[in-house]
């Protein structure tokens, strides 16, 4: 198994891939999935740090982060489907009109 720095480097690479995906993709669902990748990179760094320091409480915190992620994904998908029903387009730029 790798050392702590290897896991942190993997987490940094995954976070950057997710950030690039959020910036270059147009499909709202794929943007939400890239946000999930970034969140998972953060969780990986948290787990690696907590285990390297021998903290049990970290695993409980990661459990809470996963709960919040589940709630966030369900609400985000509900918003996307509702907007899609109003005007059938998944391009995130076309959602700029919903502020009026």
């Amino acid at each position: 198994m790798g050392s702590l720095n290897a896991y942190l480097a993997l987490s940094a690479v995954l976070f950057s891939i997710g950030a690039v995906g959020v910036l270059i993709r147009r499909n709202a669902i794929v943007v939400l999935m890239c946000i999930e990748i970034m969140l998972n990179a953060g969780i990986l760094a948290l787990v690696a740090g907590g285990i390297a320091h021998g903290q049990v409480a970290t695993q409980v915190m990661v459990l809470f982060v996963m709960m919040v992620a589940a709630a966030e994904a369900s609400v985000g998908l509900a918003i996307i489907t509702t907007v899609f029903r109003r005007h059938p387009e998944v391009d995130v730029d076309s959602y700029s009109t919903i502020k009026w």
Partner: protein, 159 residues
Amino acid sequence: MSLLFIVTATIAIVSALAVVLFRKPIYSILSLIICLYALGANYILMHAEFLAIVHLIVYAGAIMVLFLFVVMLMNLNHEGPVFRHRFTQLISVIIGSSLAMVIIAAISKTQSMGMPTSSVSTAQIGTVLFTDYLLPFELSTILFLASVVGVVITGKETR
């Protein structure tokens, strides 16, 4: 660094790149499931077996199925361009790679720690969860109730 870590990390990075680069959202979802499985394998390598199982059940089992249902039932494929403008792509890749390089450079300056070889038992995690973190645990049920009500109200057909 062990061979298993290199294999799982490579699978995770390649499938995360595939999520960004596949043109159809359904392929992106399937490669994101592979990425989550590789991360679960990483948790097992770190001796966090409980978290690995919870990660697979919650992410690959629940959230990804939700994504799959939405894409398959709503037919969210769209015809227009998949990626943004060339110039935006170039800028984004520069931003992303410099972000990764800065973080990795900062990490390489620090002193690395070895990972422990024994795992924390699930009973210990449960003890901490139901003693020190009981109030946040109860509050998370309120969060879930709020999100369920929000999803139902948002998704309701309004004429």
